[in-house]
Amino acid sequence: MGYLSLTQRDREEMLAAIGVSSVEELFRDIPARVRFDRELALDPPLGEQELSRHLEELAARNADTSRELSFLGAGIYDHYVPAIVDAVLQRGELLTAYTPYQPEMSQGVLQAIFEYQTAICELTGMDVSNASGYDGTTVAADACFVAKHATGRSKVVVTEATNPQVRQVVKTYAPGFGLEIVEVPHRNGTTSPDELRRAAADAACVIFQQPNFFGCLEPAPDLVAAAADADAIPVAHVDLVSLGVLEAPGVYGCGMAIGEGQSAGNYQSFAGPHYGFLAARNEYIRRMPGRIVGETVDAAGERGYVLTLQTREQHIRREKATSNITTNQTLLALAGLVHLSWLGPEGLRELGETCMALGEYAKRRLVDAGFELVFPERTTFKEFAIRLGRSAKDVVGAARAQGVHPGYALGRDYEGLDDAVLVAVTERRSPADIDRLVEVLAAA
């Protein structure tokens, strides 16, 4: 059997040392009635070659972005992942390591997480970041939990222009946390600070997305001021690759910054695994869920890293923990760190500027071809919504028959937008790709 070393001789020697005559005897404590005494109804084992063939056949039946020109975004994006990310993630000492509870065995992972925490704080303008959450949806639930404990309030405000999946997950967690969720509708693609202020009375926190789900830039400082007027903690759900050109949430007054990290360093991979990030002001550090790496010294006075403030976590605080999270998304967060290091501050700025320039080009060409922007007055980052004049689902089907996916059909999440798609334009799309999109949509 592929991964087992045991030979017949090994078995005999080991059974003798244990003092039993058969492997079957080792299971004598299992009561007869709960013994499974037939063979598992699973397909016969495949060796590596046949296994690869089977999986390749399954993979070939997916329309991935190497086979279809894609403008799909809506929370998961087709950014370029540099080869150095793959190379680092292949290092077995990192890939196959456990959580760094024994710090002397794990300085590699611990220092990498410390560097990741630093990068997230730099990008978001916050004081502390955890070592990652599951994804961009669960970190919103985490932020609500922190806010509830910090303020004693149970009401949470979320903008309608925040990713529908984020809102749905927060609602799923709400009953267990004892949260009341209130949504503030979007007005022509963004959120009104006055409406937000009224909704935020007695709220623990306000969550808004920047850029929002429609790709529109929200009046973020005004939304933060509105939340602060109500003494609610402002929480920004942001895109890491936008933070080379957009202001850091900490600078304009947010208490927490969260989001989906996938755009930095991860392939789309049918949505996972990726990583959620959660960063906050220092005053929330003891309530933050998830692991945190801290700096210290060893017995010889040399600098080193350890998991710290572990008393927040489940393995110590158990039923009073800030969260039950144990396994997180460390390796994917590490990929993000490598990618951000490869970009550097200049590269990150250029990436943001390129996405915006391509986006503006796409909007111009589509408008010239007779398509209507859903929110023409709004500045957008990386994606925008257009009306197709008829059922978006039909147009998507027709476009895909020509090898182009024009974007996410918004009608499923928002009223009055059955004819609209969300078009994402990343640095992987060229002006020629955009010309092709316009050509296909015009003919669809």
Binding site: G2, L4, L6, A17, L26, D29, I30, R33, V34, R35, F36, L40, L42, P45, L46, L51, L58, A59, R61, A63, I76, P82, E93, L94, T96, T99, Q102, E104, M105, A112, F114, E115, A119, E122, V169, G176, F270, P273, I285, I292, G294, V297, A299, G301, T308, Q314, H315, E319, K320, A321, N324, I325, T327, Q329, L331, S341, W342, L343, E346, E360
Partner: protein, 499 residues
Amino acid sequence: MKLIFEKSQSGRRGGELPKPDLPAADVPVELRRASPPRLPELAEPEILRHFTELSTRNFGIDTGFYPLGSCTMKYNPRVNERLVMLPGFRDLHPYQEEDGIQGALELMWRLQEALIEVSGLHACSLQPAAGSQGELTGLMLMRAYFEDRGEGDRRDTIITADTAHGTNPASVTMAGYKLAKVQTDARGNVDVAHLRELVDERTAGLMLTNPSTLGLFDEHIEEIAAIFHDVGALLYYDGANLNAVCGLSRPGDMGFDIVHINLHKTFSQPHGGGGPGGGPIVVRERLEPFLPVPAVVKGGERFRLDFDRPKSIGKVRGYTGPFGVFVRSYAYIRSYGPRLREMSEAAVLNANYLLALLKEAYDLPYDRLCMHEFVLSARTLKREHGISATDVAKRLMDYGFHPPTIYFPLVVPEALMIEPTETEAKETLDAFAEAMRGIAREAAENPDLVKAAPHGRPVKRLDEVRAAKRAIVKYGFEDHPDMAEPTAEPRQLEAQKGA
């Protein structure tokens, strides 16, 4: 070793990006970033060297023996790393149309079917991102189930074992339930008499892992199941220890109604330094309507995402779950097929063999055959020589092994929880036992050597007290605090004393 930020030099950078010849688009000034983020500035060769150096300061399963209890640190097959990079998996967007994701949906459906067979239950959701999230999802299912029956207000308590992993009580709190704890008896089983006192009409359910964190199969599991089912309560199985019983005993047959499986334990997803993982849940038929949405279903030869689940608890995370983890776990299960049973038999054989080699040198709290893991105690070493479980763990590092889990489960003082897994060769087990016996001798003959361990790692013993008192959680750039002052002795404290 320097931080990557300390190697940064202004003007250097890694990669170049495409520069399309287009006019710039401006961010409105009130939203524009004023100061660039201080990300590292290095060229690519130096970036790669930095992360390579970091990896040499780390220890993975690829490096050596990693016997952490209930973590199942088994070999992570390399073919799986190749398979997740197939473009049809790697470059697939989650919102692609249904006809364009048939391969992905089929993989997920087949994985679900395999997990259903291994669990002995009826329906599966792959959505939860980790075991903890599976636990929370399972408790949310319980709540939805009882509310649907009009019993939601009445049933407010979940019972966990005193040997439970910390996630169990933490999940109970997150789900909004009250917690009760049942004791363990002298044979390492759940104390059935105590359980009968605790279970009543306010009980929603039990959370248990079997075999337990002591590595022991509960001999009374049928009786335990009956106690809960008789009052209309449910049983939740924490799948952390499933590696012991695949193809030998199924949680559904033991009486459990909801099971979570740790794909990063039993089914070989690499731990990645802390994650990712996967925590799918498998349930009995009557709980299926409440599963997270969407469900992956098969109709004829096609596969679909079914969102029409009016009783679903909702979504516990984005999209359909960590797909890359499914690719690896599915490939792993296909490489064993029904021979998963041999995997578990080998895991239990390896553990019992190692136990036989070590039970004289250390204290053994429960003298029974173990399953895939066992717990020893360093209690005598502590009492006679002042050597704690922490000291044993640190000294093992000098022998080239990752230590086992220490100070867990809480019911055993100075606990050493050891799970070898099935992919270890006999020689490795012999060498580990040799090292453990050696350390027991050193405890008597040269305790200072053990107390000052490790001696052969990139760092000496680290001061965790200092890190907790003054939390430095990111690089300080201009005002980096002075860490040069050495401590007189490292202060790393154990959870339990007075053994």
